[in-house]
Structure formats: structure tokens, C-alpha cells
Point group: C2
Chain length 194, copies 2
């Protein structure tokens, strides 16, 4: 399975494509950072990011897109731009019918380093090692994008199995409730017949 990981941002937007192989093997297909000028309008910055993502989706044809889920941080202005960048990425994926999953930074860090509180250097280090890269991806946004793709490859099968188990449990519960209702109805009918 091939995944495009995206660390959204207006100033720097990290893009990384990773192929998942047998077991937990992963291979880096491409990694880059899209930059947009601070003095451009918001609309034109979003357009530049959208164009880059469209080009990557055309060129690398991933089967899924993993985007970092933005949380409220210190700077509200930055968060808004990040959310908007993530939004246009999700839009491009949805237009092609590709699944888009948002992973939190801690989910990504936990998947890649084993700790949800790992720092940037640890994430970059583990991503470099896991993908067997000759050089550490730089800046951090590039490493994060690859980390998100890896996180998705490793978490998705578990998430899918969990969702399936939950659906099965819900079905069993529904059947159980139906049986209870039928039994209650039968008991009531018996009582009325007496």
C-alpha cells in the first residue's frame, strides 16, 4: 500500500510518499516541502499548496492520504492557516475518492518512535532509520510527513480490524436486544391468554 503523508502548513507544507511492504517494512518513494511566500494572499497560498498536492497525487498515485490533525496551539493565526492547508489537501484527496485519515502528532510519534512525547530530533532520527535513508530528511516538516505516512501504514490495519470488531459487536448486541424483546412479547401474550 502506498500512502501520501502531509504535514500541513502555509509557510512549509511537508509531503512524503511511503510504500508499505511485508510486515513492517517501509520504503520512501518521495519527500519534499512546499513553501509559499508569506506576503502572498491566503487564497494564493492555499492554491499553491493545492496545486502541489494535485501534482503529487497524479505522479505518485497513493491509495490513501494521511494528514496531521491540527490542535489548538499557542498561535491561533498559525493554527488557522494550518487547518486551512490541511483542508485543501483533504479536498484534493476526496475529489479522487481517496480515503483521508487525520492522525494526531502524538499518534504519529508513538507509531514511529514508541513514545507520543518524542521530540522532533527523535522523530527525524527514527524516520531516517526506518526508511533506511542515507540522509536525514530536512526540514522537520519533511520528516513529519514521512512519519505520518508510516503511522498510517502501521495503524490502519489495526484500526480497520477494530472497526470490524466493533461492527460485529454492535450486530450481536442488536440481535440480543431483538431476542429479549421477542421473549418479553411472548411472556406478555402468555399472561394475557391466561
Amino acid at each position: 500500500m502506498r500512502v501520501l503523508g502531509v504535514d500541513p502548513g502555509l509557510t512549509r507544507c511537508g509531503l512524503g510518499v511511503v510504500d508499505g511492504g511485508v510486515g513492517r517494512t517501509v520504503r520512501c518513494v518521495a519527500v519534499d516541502v512546499v513553501r509559499t511566500p508569506v506576503d502572498a494572499t491566503l487564497a494564493n497560498r492555499l492554491l499553491k499548496i493545492s496545486d502541489a498536492v494535485e501534482e503529487w497525487l497524479d505522479r505518485y498515485r497513493p491509495e490513501a492520504v494521511a494528514v496531521e490533525r491540527v490542535f489548538s496551539q499557542h498561535n491561533v493565526r498559525t493554527v488557522m492557516g494550518t487547518a486551512q492547508a490541511g483542508g485543501v489537501v483533504a479536498l484534493s484527496a476526496a475529489r479522487r475518492g481517496l480515503p483521508v485519515v487525520f492522525h494526531t502528532p502524538s499518534e504519529m510519534k508513538a507509531a514511529v518512535t514508541g513514545s507520543g512525547r518524542a521530540d522532533k530530533a527523535q522523530v527525524t532520527d527514527m524516520v531516517t532509520r526506518l526508511l533506511g535513508l542515507a540522509e536525514a530528511p530536512s526540514p522537520a516538516d519533511a520528516a513529519d510527513a514521512l512519519g505520518l505516512a508510516i503511522c498510517h501504514l502501521w495503524r490502519e490495519p489495526m484500526r480497520a480490524r477494530l472497526a470490524e470488531a466493533e461492527a460485529r459487536a454492535a450486530e450481536l448486541a442488536k440481535k440480543h436486544r431483538a431476542r429479549l424483546a421477542a421473549a418479553a412479547k411472548a411472556a406478555k401474550a402468555k399472561g394475557a391468554a391466561r
Copy 2:
């Protein structure tokens, strides 16, 4: 001039097209609210909003798009969705080379009612009167979208004149600095020649 006003949101996204005439006359061309299901994925909700906006841009051919600028509110989750919806709207406009301007809720309220602190009922009331509508637009998101378009029509000429005046002032200041520098250089040369 024709403006598309957008009150962005995932659950309800208000869209309103207004034509500006001579002086402060305004005319409502179209108004509606796009709704997306709460249980749909974020990507698919953004796609639905984007599709609706694309259709409106095709059908009504506005010359500018006015979007409500989102501020940090109480619910961070809602703010993110609103920012993302606004982002995909800005993207559609940018793809067509249309100017996108973000107005704050208080700018819109001040333009429409005269007070930046007007409540929803006052905004709806004034929008209904200004556009001479037989019925008040409902829900509030529809009225807000029309209010944003009106705000843009009335503020934009002033904003453009201000920007022009600022550019002229900057040009004068630059010339003045050049004259000062030339005078200083001449004085220095005169001193050296003595």
C-alpha cells in the same frame, strides 16, 4: 459589481450573491445554505461545500468573493471546521483568479447595522431591509452571507482608495528620502572640494 458572500461552516455554509448599484443600492441575486451531514468524513464535507461553491461561481459569475474571517471561539473543533470550509472556498475563488477578501464579523455588522456589536436578529433585520426582501433570510447563516457581500461592496472602494493613498504616500516618502540623500551627498562633496 457582483459579490459572493460566504459564511463558512461544515454543518451550514451560507452563500449569498449581491449586486451593487449606484451609490449604496444593493440587490439580492441568490441566497442559500449548504448543509453537510455530521456523520460524513471531514474530507467529504469539504468536498460537498467546494462543489456547491464551484456551482455558484459558474452560475452567478461574481467578480469577488467575501468570506467571514474566523476567530478563535469557544469550541476549537468548530473553529477548525469553519476555517477549513473557508479555506476551500478561498481556493475555488483563487483557481478562477477572483479576489478573495476576508471580513471579520464586526466589520460586517458595522457595515450593515452601524454597530460592530449588533446581534444576529439586528443583522438579519437590516439585511432584509437593505435588500428589500419580502421575507427575512433564514437561517442566520444565509443573512450573514448576504451581509458579507454587502460589507464587501461598501468597504471595498474605501479600502482600495486607502491602499492607493498609502501607496502614494510611500512613493512621496521615497522621493523625499532620495532628495535628502542627494542633498547630503552634495554637501559632502562640497565639503571635500574645499
